[in-house]
Structure formats: structure tokens, C-alpha cells
Symmetry: C3
Subunit: 335 residues, 3 copies
């Protein structure tokens, strides 16, 4: 949506250096911007791209303004400011209200008049869909679900049953919410399935990435608080509780009944074992998992970055003999 | 389904301490139970919750009975006993037989009269669906599949082709069975796809979690034996063979042509490389993978739990110089 | 498709030892082959299975011919040669052109007359489907997508939006292409979504495995070059660039804005952090991830194979005291 720099500056509290009547109609990176593009400079790593940008305007820190060859929108947090502006310049698509003829909505379900149900959507018994919700093609909303206003389900999302979601959630394709948790009791005849009767409760402003799964609770609910962001291919097991504004990068997993605090960050391919508590403001490194309660905020790690195979093999060989090394040192000390 | 304590005790071989006519109609955890709830105490970790429970009855070990403030159902394995009882109190939903008008069933397929095909199901050429099978919304059963009695496909499950499944299987949303294995031959012109012509054979009483994939065999079948339980987001590659009653937690992966024994357990985010054999009764720790044959039952590990980043960084720095340390010790010894 | 050994030898440049009029109509492994099967011997590990095979013919190296009890098709690269032959003996299924009555195609989309759209397919605004494309059941092709000739989408694939694909691509069930990348800016009020406005560009001859996700670019496109092969449950984040003929085994992940060179191989459960560059011809070991630029071809590792838990625990205990060990050695040296 075309918008003038003057209006952007006013709406988002920036100082503008440049023509307020200049108009942007898209976003781009510094090197690929054209005279109708809004762009930004947030990381020093990209500073060298600034001098040659052809953008209409750059959102950047006041410090960087002297080096900006085009109009500048000054903000102390240029990335967050750009994010807000980009949502205006490139708004999410809107959809006319209505239910496609190929959608199948159970008689006991309710759909707000302003909601849009795309082709091949299924809505189950007793579920309700709020105002302005977009339910994309192929999405299945099972029984006993409650969807708050302004949620968007892009396509082929599945809510198995008993999932309640707050407002403004975004759920990407392949997301599965409310499937049975992994509850099995061993017996002499093999595994006995433990019925999973809890649901999933998700707060406002939650976004969940493609093919991520959030299981229902065994007894009681799995809970994801407001503002949580989860990337693709993550696993949230039964009865996990994720605190507000926590973010998890792709392929993270939280095992059953673990509680994660607020504002935590997981860097991907790691997570936490079951039945532990992680306090607020914890950062877990890539491919690192918490094995016991974490009670102090901070960064936690357990991974080794890859190195040339020969170097690594030598170290692993030494590591395999680390006990012997220890014994040799002890012997030397005894001399 | 409401049921009396007396009937539960009789059906599941428990001693009942309490009123046999008292009725339970749901399940709950010890702290959240109400006077109509059945609950259980299996782990000492939750013993302190026992004294204040408001449950109708608690399934627990005879040892714990003296501390139970409400009716007690005594069993040596309270978790398994609870699992069996909960399946009666909270039975899986049942569905009227029939094929929804929006389902598309190929003329050459057969569907048992007692099966239920939900909206938007597709059944391909020559496939057969057994008695009392539930095929949930959006599920695609490709050609040449054979589905045993009493299986349930929750929603949006995909069977690509040539999958045969025994009785009573449960398949959660997003599961993909029988997709092509990762078979590629290098050539000067790049990768050549190796046709994947095998199928998938799954035994009785198998449950597979959301978004897990089980590939078809390259030649011959991928096999999952009776009673196997696989959690979400796992990967079973082509020509893998999983022994009966093995359980795999989320994000486990077994690479191609590997054989896993019976009653193994995988704790998640680990697995096994290809072309190896793991014997019966092996437990693989979290984020640990087997790199060669395992011939002895037992627990196998290869992961480091996360610790504060500074502590970890120091250790990794030392590890990077472990060869030098070894050399220094050797030098000392030579003196 | 039945074919004579003589014709196979001629088409694929093999020397044939045996009857050129003998016909094969299927493929099998050495031990399971029958007199109508084509099979192959590529790895010495299976050499012992050669003498008892009942196959019609074996593709193998000239060196192995003397030990072959049946007809032999000689080739220096028997696996690649077998792959090419198997594609003729067991061709991918073909589909009559046409759009199933239950498919929903937007008026602004174009579908080539030779394409096949299966039941319940959805094609969005302004998208185009090339000649001979197969779009399997339940597949959703969102708006602004461009699908090259001869692509196949097996079933329940989702293209969120703005995905362009070259020719002959194969996309397995549950694949999600073009979903929003994980772009979030922190603010005092919590995460702000950064609009993801780029697309996905995929070259010719690309195959992507079940439940793998490839996100759209934040700004600019995520790119996968010609001939890339990606296995199941992998994650390709926003603005990643994967070079031609790279292959990634299951559960690999490449974080945002990373560039991977040509002909790289990832062994599974590893990958790369964001914003780095990996040169051509790099092999990453299982469960190993690159944490910084890799500028030299070769093999890179960072994983420890599992070992018996007691042995591992001792090593980890020593590792936890590696700093103390270092200090003790230093002290000894000072004496």
C-alpha cells in the first residue's frame, strides 16, 4: 500500500530527513531497493551497503544518518520500526467474508459472519470461529475448538480437537494442534495407550511455523501464553507450558510436562527434557538441551560446532581416552 | 462414560478400599480432581499431592493406600491399570458408519460397511478399508493400500501408496506413510533418482504421532512390527525394520536399511545411522545416535546436557586443545 | 514395463553377458529376486549374496562378472546404471489429463491441458500449472505460484504463495513451500512480526521429501538450484540459497540467509547456523552443524556416536573437570 514518508514518520515516531511527500510502495533490502522501496539498516554488518542504495528511504539509527544517500527515517530500534512500517506498506491479504461452497461446517459449529472459510475447510462439532478469522484451504478444525478473532490459518492446518486460541494468531501450513500426546504405560502385553483427554490453550498474538506440532494434554491442558513465536518443525509435547513472548527457532522440542518461562529463546535443534522447569529469560544455544531445572536467567549451551573431520576424529579419540589421561596425571602427581 | 468403582475393581483386578457404588465420570490429576474424577499415583514425586486430592478414587500401589484420603483402587502397576480404566471412563469417540458425500473413493477400492469416511477423504485405486475404520477429514489413502479393522486416521494423514496396516492402528494428523525413500545415485550429470518400488508394512496396535514420516522401501518393504509406538516428527527411512513394542520419542530418526530390535526405547532427537542392526531391549538416550551395530541390551548415550555458556565455552576451549594436553602429559612422563 | 536385456544393454551402454531376448519386468534385491527381476551389485558388502541370486540379470562391475550365476549387465557405475534402468522397468505412474470435479481452480489461474489435477486440489489466484504436471489429492497451490512442466506433487503438498518451480520436480506429501520465514523484531511490547514478502525459487530436477519445509524469503527469495535433493523433515529457512546438486538427508536444517554451495552433502540431523557461507563440495557429518563460514571443501564433523551409558557418563564426568585436569598438568610442569 503506497504511503508517504511523512505519514510513516508521524505514525511511527521517527524523525524524517527527506521529502515528506515521497511515497514508498514496497520493501526491499539495501542493495535491491528501488526508488519506491522502504528499506532499513539495523546491523553494522550491512553498513557498507548503505552508500549505494537506491531506496526511497532507509530506517536507521540517528548515528547512521550522515552516511545515508537517500531519505532517512531515524529510530533507535530500526528493525522493530521497519517491521511496523512494513506491515503497513505490505499488509497481510484480506478476504471477503463467507464460507466456500466446498467447506463442510458441522451444524453445531458457529462461524462469525466476517470470517472467511476457504475451499475444502472442515469445521467440527461445537467449534466456534471468531470475527475476521481466515481459515485457509484444506484446514481441518476438529470438534470443541474455539478460535479467537483475527486468527489466520494459512492452509492445510489441523486442529485435532479441544484447541482454544486467542486473538490474532497465525498458523502456517502443516501445523498440528491438539493431537494425542505420547502417553504409554508398559505392561506385560506391551504398551497400553493412556487416553489423552486434555486440550491445548493458546494465548493472543501467537505464531506457529509450518509442520510444528503441539500435543494436547494428557490430563489438563498444554498451554502457550501470549506472544509466543514458534518456528517450523518444532515439537511441544503434552502438558508443556510455554511462557509469554518466548521464541523457539526451528526443530526445537520440549518434552512432556516441562514449563518454560517468559521471554526465553531457543536457537534451534535443541530444547528440554520432560518434567523440568526453565525460568524466565533463558537462552538455549543451537542443538543444546536442558536436562534439569534452570533457575538462573542466562545463556546455556551444549553443542560443538563442526570442524574438519580429521581434527575432530583426533579429539574424539583423545576424549575416548580421557579417563586414562586423568589416571596418568594422577600417577605423575603421586611421584 | 460413568462407571462405578466396584465395576472398575472387578474388571481390572484391583482391591477396592471404598464404596463400590461410587461413580467416576472423568479423569484428572491429583490436584485438579473433583468428586467425580478417577486419578492415579504412580510416581513418588507426586506423593505429596495425595493427601489433599478431592478425587472420587485414586489408583495406587498397596503401600500408598494408608495415605489416601479418598477411595483407593490398589494395583501393583497403577499407571498401566489407570491407562486401562481411563480407556473405559473416557472412550475414544465412535462414528456412525458411512461415507461422507464429499469423500472420493475410487471404483476399484473397497470400504467395509462399518467404516466411517469423513469429509474430503480420498481413497485410491485397489485400496481396501477394514471394518470400523475411522478415516478422518482430509486423509488421502493412495493406491494399493490395505487398512485393517479398527484403525483410526485422525485427520489429514497421507498414505502415498502400497501401505498395509494391521488392526487397531492410530495415525495422527500429518503422518505420511509410504512416500519415496531418499534413493539417489550420483552420476556426472548429477543425482539420478533410484525408483522406490517397495511398500510399508505395519503390524497391529501401532500408533504413529503427528507429522512423522515412514518411507516406502527402495526394494522390499519398510516394516514396523506389532505394538510399536512412534511419537511426533520422527523419521523412519526406507527399508528400516522396527521390532515389536519398540517406542520412539519425538524427533527420533532411523536411517535407511537399519534394523531395530524389539522393546527398544529412543528418548528423542537421536536415532541410528543407516545399515546397522540394534538388538532387542536397547535404550538410546536423548540426542544420541547409534553409529554401528549394537549387540548388547542396555542404555547408550552420546549427549551433553546444556550448562551456562561461560562454563561450556571454557570446556570446549580445553577440549579443542586436548591433543596438546595429552602431549604435555606424555612429556612429563618422559622426564 | 517388461523389457529385454538386449534393449537395456543398448540403451544404457552396458556389455551384456547372457541372452539378449531374456525379459525383466520388475526389480528386486539380490536375495529376493526372481527370474523376471533386474537387480544390481554395487557394494562389496553384498557380494556374498550374488552367488545364490535367482534374478534374470544383475547390473554389476566387470570385475564381479565371473561370480555372477545369471545374466550380467556390466557397467563401471552399477548403482547409477541400475537407477536409470529401474526408471524404465518401473516407470512413475502416468495420469490422464484433466481436472477432477472436486478441484477448485481460481479463475485467474492457468492449467496446461495436459496437467492432471486430482480430487480436492486447490489452485490460487494468478498461479500457473505447466504441461504434464501431476497435482495429487489435497494439494494446495496458493496464489502467485508458477509450476514448470512435468512436476509431480504426490498428495497434500502446500505451496503457501509465490513459489516458482522449474521442470521435473517431485514434491512428497506434507511438503510446505513458501510459508512465512521466522522474522520477529523484539520490542518492549513483545515480538513484532516482520512481514515476509519474498518468494521461493526452485530450479529443475529438484526432489523434496515428506514434511520438509522451505520458507519464503523475508525480502528477496529463498533459492534452491537445479538438481538438489532434500530428504524428509528438513528445514530450509528464509533467504537460504542451496547450490546445485546438493543433497540433504533427513532432519537437516539450514538457518536463515545461509548460502550452501554446489554438490554438498548433509548426513542428517545437522546443518548450518544462519548468515554463513558454505563452499562447494562440503560434506557435513550426521548431527553436525556448521557455525561459521566453510571455505575449504571436505568433510566436517561434530558428533559423538553413542556408547554404553556407564562409559559415556565417566567420560562426561572427566570432561566436566577438564579445566581442573589442565590446571594439574600445568602445576606438574611448573615443578
Amino acid at each position: 500500500m503506497p504511503i508517504s514518508l511523512g505519514e510513516l514518520a508521524t505514525r511511527f515516531g521517527c524523525e524524517l530527513i527527506g521529502d515528506p511527500d515521497s511515497v514508498v510502495s514496497g520493501v526491499a533490502s539495501l542493495p535491491h531497493a528501488n526508488p519506491e522501496s522502504l528499506t532499513f539498516l539495523a546491523s553494522k554488518a550491512y553498513k557498507e551497503q548503505l552508500s549505494s542504495t537506491k531506496a526511497a528511504a532507509v530506517v536507521l539509527r540517528p548515528d547512521d544518518a550522515p552516511d545515508c544517500p537517500v531519505a532517512a527515517l531515524l529510530h533507535d530500534d530500526p528493525y522493530a520500526c521497519y517491521a511496523r512500517m512494513a506491515a503497513v506498506v505490505c499488509p497481510a491479504p484480506t478476504y471477503a467474508p463467507g464460507v466456500h461452497a466446498s467447506a463442510v461446517v458441522d451444524d453445531s459449529a458457529t462461524v462469525a459472519p466476517s470470517a472467511h472459510l476457504a475451499p475444502r475447510v472442515v469445521v467440527g462439532e461445537r467449534s466456534s470461529i471468531g470475527e475476521n478469522v481466515y481459515v485457509g484451504p484444506g484446514t481441518v478444525i476438529g470438534p470443541d475448538c474455539e478460535i479467537g478473532d483475527d486468527c489466520r490459518f494459512i492452509a492445510n492446518v489441523t486442529l485435532a480437537r479441544a484447541v482454544s486460541i486467542g486473538k490474532r494468531g497465525v498458523f502456517h501450513p502443516g501445523v498440528v494442534l491438539g493431537a494425542d500426546g505420547f502417553g504409554n504405560a508398559m505392561s506385560p502385553e506391551g504398551w497400553i495407550k493412556v487416553p489423552q483427554v486434555g486440550g491445548v490453550r493458546i494465548g493472543d498474538d501467537v505464531e506457529i511455523g509450518a509442520n510444528t506440532t503441539v500435543d494436547c494434554g494428557a490430563i489438563g491442558d498444554t498451554v502457550i501464553e501470549d506472544g509466543v513465536r514458534i518456528d517450523n518443525l518444532c515439537m511441544i509435547a503434552h502438558n508443556v507450558h510455554i511462557g509469554a513472548h518466548t521464541a523457539m527457532a526451528a526443530m526445537s522440542g520440549i518434552a512432556g510436562s516441562t514449563t518454560v518461562g517468559k521471554r526465553c529463546m531457543f536457537a534451534g535443534m535443541g530444547g528440554a527434557v520432560g518434567h523440568i522447569t526453565i525460568c524466565d529469560d533463558v537462552i538455549m544455544g543451537a542443538q543444546s538441551f536442558a536436562s534439569k531445572d534452570i533457575t538462573e536467567p542466562g545463556t546455556y549451551l551444549a553443542s560443538f560446532p563442526a570442524e574438519p573431520a580429521g581434527d575432530w576424529a583426533k579429539k574424539v579419540a583423545r576424549f575416548r581416552r580421557i579417563e586414562a589421561l586423568q589416571a596418568r596425571v594422577k600417577k605423575l602427581e603421586q611421584k
